[in-house]
Amino acid sequence: MAGGLGKIIKTLQIDTRLLGMIGAFVLIAFIFNIATGGTFLTPRNLFNLTLQTASVAVMATGMVFVIVTRNIDLSIGSLLGVVGMIMGVMQAFVLPDIVGFGSPLIWVVAVIVGLAVGIGIGAFQGWMIGYLAIPSFIVTLGGLLIWRGTAWWVTRGTTVSPLDPTFNMLGGASGTIGVTASWILALVGSAATLYFLFNSRKNYIGHGFPVKPMWAEVALGGILVGAICGITAIMNAYQIPTRVLQRRFEQDGLEMPEGYTEAYGFPISVLIVLAVAIVMTIVARKSRFGRYVFAMGGNPDAAELSGINTRLLTVKVFALMGALTAISAVIASARLGSAGNSLGELDELRVIAAAVIGGTALAGGVGTIYGAILGAFIMQALVSGMGMVGVDSPFQNMIVGAVLILAVWIDILYRRKTGDS
């Protein structure tokens, strides 16, 4: 790296791998923007991109833990399918008879049941891996077939729809928080970011540790706040189409005023991704559970000898993966407004690819939450960009496959160069 720039990056203490991934994302975005004549980098497309990525991004954060502990989970696509199907059946057939049609309880109960099923199946698979010592590859490969079959069996292959309208807001464009709330959120987020930077600096100084120079701290804060406000501005720039607005007014029995406009703001599903990202980052870096996950990935024997119950830890990791898969099932089925038999098909591969592109090492012990989420965005940008340019489906798959291999190869070269193994 060039001397001056390298020094700045080092002083800012930014992960160079993160920079590389952001660079790759920007590069992909600009190439597609040129190829599509400027439609890729429009608020509308970026808004849709975040909606499409949400489900895979949520699961990718859990896959980081799974892969860090030297395991793999091939069952999540099918698990997403069966959880989505169960939630769909609950909403369409079971709950209206119990709590009444249109009751606000419907979506709440459906989500709770979905989470319980996800956690239960995840924990059960984790128990077989941790306590029965069956390799995770086998347990979850079996799960892939079993849960897809279960989803099929539940509805005999039919698609369940329509889903509860409130439920649909959790994943689709119908559920956005509007311009004002989005800006308030951006303000709160910026304030929290700055407080966090300030507090951690104070903590370091309090213990007499070396700290970054003040200009680096200010620059980092500026970059982060700028990013938060930039993303918010993009989400707030996408105007709701007039005919959609018209329909909303008609539903309420009102006439839409002439020249009325409204923008989407943050979709709820993207806020779910944000919340999951924040919680999972804290779990990974600041909780004992997260510390043990990485310790076990680095050296399972050392973790066991340090008094960590690695079997129970495995159960917890897979239960967490199940919970996140259930959240993704909510987002995915809500976005489509239905629960079909193919819901989540091949998602396990997209999620693993996202985690791996995001720098999670299959050898275990290494991985970051933000990396996995960025990996999910890079994959989705590639797929939807190719779709917009008009690349045929078979070529799309070939290119995504090649990019996955290339990304891992670059990662290996990077690790070799920086001395990480």
Binding site: G206, S287, A295, N299, A302, A303
Partner: protein
């Protein structure tokens, strides 16, 4: 005679048909260093792994301060203030020194989150005592030298007030200077009243550091001798022949 700090009595364990440890009894007094000697596969590491809770014995008893105790896992051993420094340096390579030092016993904040700065500050304190040259606190221990890694492993045992310390080849991976440092540390801990089990292949080093040595061969205890009563040659013949020539004569 005072009560031993720790006593392992008639310990046996077998893996499949092989008796890895066969009816072995050893003990250690406060402020004493007991060496375990023997060829590879003699059963030394297996014996101490039973004490550390990594293996479960098939027969025998363990006494701490004369009271019978059960050690079923590494947590039990830690609760009894038995700390182990393994030959393989049981460290998680991807974590930094402080995370390894406190692994399984993290300092947490009021919110139950791990307090990394506090742990690093504590690590710096203990390292200043054990290895003042140690400066690389924020790097994964994989990038450290053998001696630096060893000082992390030792710091872990010392920080948590071990009463009984098991050291399985603590100097095997170290240079001359670092070996001397470990030897000094063993003497210091001994003076503090710890009971130490030391495993090593270096007979000369053992003669210098230990008060007594127990020699094992093929899973059995050949004998335990005070170092002043035997020569290095006597020890070697116990290791190789499985008997003490002096005792034979007498």
């Amino acid at each position: 005679m005072t009560t031993p700090l720790l006593e392992m009595r008639n310990i046996s364990i077998h893996f499949g048909g092989i008796k890895a440890v066969d009816d072995v009894s050893i003990d250690v007094m406060p402020g004493e260093v007991v060496g375990l000697l023997g060829h590879n596969g003699a059963g030394k590491s297996t014996l101490i792994k039973i004490l550390a809770g990594a293996y479960q014995k098939d027969a025998g008893e363990i006494y701490v301060d004369g009271k019978k105790v059960e050690i079923n896992n590494p947590r039990d051993a830690r609760d009894l203030n038995i700390e182990t420094i393994y030959q393989t340096l049981a460290l998680s390579d991807n974590l930094d020194a402080a995370s390894n030092l406190f692994l399984g016993r993290e300092i947490t904040t009021a919110f139950g989150l791990v307090d990394d700065t506090k742990m690093e500050a504590e690590s710096r304190k203990i390292m200043a005592r054990l290895n003042p040259n140690f400066k690389r606190f924020s790097e994964p221990v994989r990038s450290l030298s053998g001696g630096q890694r060893q000082s992390v492993a030792i710091a872990r045992a010392v920080y948590f007030n071990a009463r009984i310390l098991i050291m399985d080849e603590p100097t095997a991976a170290l240079g001359v200077h670092e070996t001397a440092m470990v030897a000094d540390l063993i003497k210091e801990l001994k003076a503090q009243g710890l009971g130490i089990f030391l495993i090593s292949h270096d007979t000369r080093e053992m003669m210098e550091l230990c008060d007594r040595v127990s020699v094992m061969k093929n899973g059995q205890l050949i004998g335990t001798e005070r170092v002043e009563d035997v020569t290095e040659d006597d020890i070697l013949s116990m290791i190789i022949m499985g008997k003490n020539p002096k005792r034979e004569v007498a």
